[in-house]
């Protein structure tokens, strides 16, 4: 079916978290190609100047310097070219209220950063396959919410 690797984008300021994420995504069965940026300003610049295919999914850390995840989410949803992107919020906090708020602001996926590497691999695997189903089965993205 889709033989070319899926483009994945991660915005996170923590170098350790980035390395763990990269290792985890390499363990996922679906072939992916990962791009990483270090904060919200860099993320928006990258997306707005992108020449080619948009990423299949963007993983956003909530707390980043210069521009945080929520502000990026708002800008993405208000940008005609970017508004249909799948957005996964990647965060250490997991209060029910935080989760619901993020969904209301337009996030598709809410991931509580797991402590175990193997759990992270499983979580990413699930997010990527479900996201892919939305993409290939013509499902209504507006209804795509997943808290994991």
């Amino acid at each position: 079916m889709n033989q070319s690797p899926l483009n994945i984008l991660l915005a996170d300021d923590d170098e350790d978290d980035k390395l763990i994420f990269r290792d985890a995504i390499n363990e996922v069965k679906v072939k992916t190609s990962l791009t990483m940026v270090s904060d919200g300003v860099e993320l928006m610049e990258y997306l707005q100047n992108l020449d080619g295919e948009l990423p299949a999914i963007v993983f956003l850390d909530l707390n980043m310097p210069r521009k945080g995840g929520i502000e990026c989410l708002r800008e993405i949803r208000n940008d005609a070219n970017l508004k249909d992107l799948s957005i996964a919020i990647y965060s250490t906090s997991a209060s029910e209220q935080d989760i619901e708020d993020t969904f209301i602001k337009g996030a598709n996926v809410y991931i509580k950063k797991p402590n175990e590497f193997n759990t992270l691999v499983k979580v990413l695997e699930e997010v990527i396959t479900i996201n892919w189903q939305y993409h290939t089965s013509d499902l209504n993205k507006e209804n795509f919410v997943l808290s994991i």
Binding site: M1, V30, E100, I104, G106, S137
Partner: protein
């Protein structure tokens, strides 16, 4: 009399592709010669019609047979789950085997080889998507939705909903309502 013609096959091919894709109302983009990017997943029937239409011009769609078969499996499931009728209580496996005329083992293996997910998961995802649509439409109660989608009880539906999406049906309903208001 004899006419001498000079023709450009590349332009001719592009024109044919454009005409046929537009006729079938398939959104597309011609990326390079020998490649068409479809903006949406096409159904099995659309794929077949396009194939037949292009064949007349000697144009052939090069496609992985297994991907086509998977698309057919998906279409069959989607059609069944989205029908207005109540979901039949017969097993999906029997239904698919009969409808596609292959053993369920064969169907199921190809499906997971190509999609990295099982048919069972795909069916659950489709049923939950249907439940979401019905919840948003607001015409049916959760109990009625559970019956329509042939869950043994409203708890069973709620549990599967929570397990698939991470949130409860009620919370989902609230999120979508507030999101529509906010955006």
């Amino acid at each position: 009399m004899k006419l001498h013609i000079k023709y450009d096959t590349v332009t001719a091919c592009k024109m044919i592709l454009q005409e046929q894709l537009e006729k079938l109302e398939i959104p597309y983009e011609l990326t390079s010669l020998g490649e068409v990017e479809l903006k949406k997943a096409v159904t099995y029937t659309q794929h077949k019609d396009l194939n037949a239409a292009l064949k007349r011009y000697g144009i052939e769609i090069l496609d992985d047979q297994r991907s086509i078969f998977v698309q057919k499996i998906k279409d069959t499931i989607i059609e069944l789950v989205n029908s207005e009728e109540r979901l039949p209580s017969a097993k999906f496996s029997d239904f698919l085997a009969q409808k596609l005329n292959h053993s369920y083992g064969h169907i199921s293996k190809i499906f997971s080889d190509v999609t990295y997910t099982s048919i069972e998961n795909f069916i659950i995802l489709q049923k939950i998507e249907r439940a979401k649509q019905l919840i948003i439409a607001g015409d049916l109660t959760l109990t009625e939705i559970a019956w329509q989608l042939n869950y043994s009880s409203v708890q069973h539906l709620s549990n599967q909903f929570k397990k698939t999406t991470g949130i409860t049906p009620t919370s989902f309903q609230r999120i979508i309502k507030m999101r529509r208001k906010a955006m």
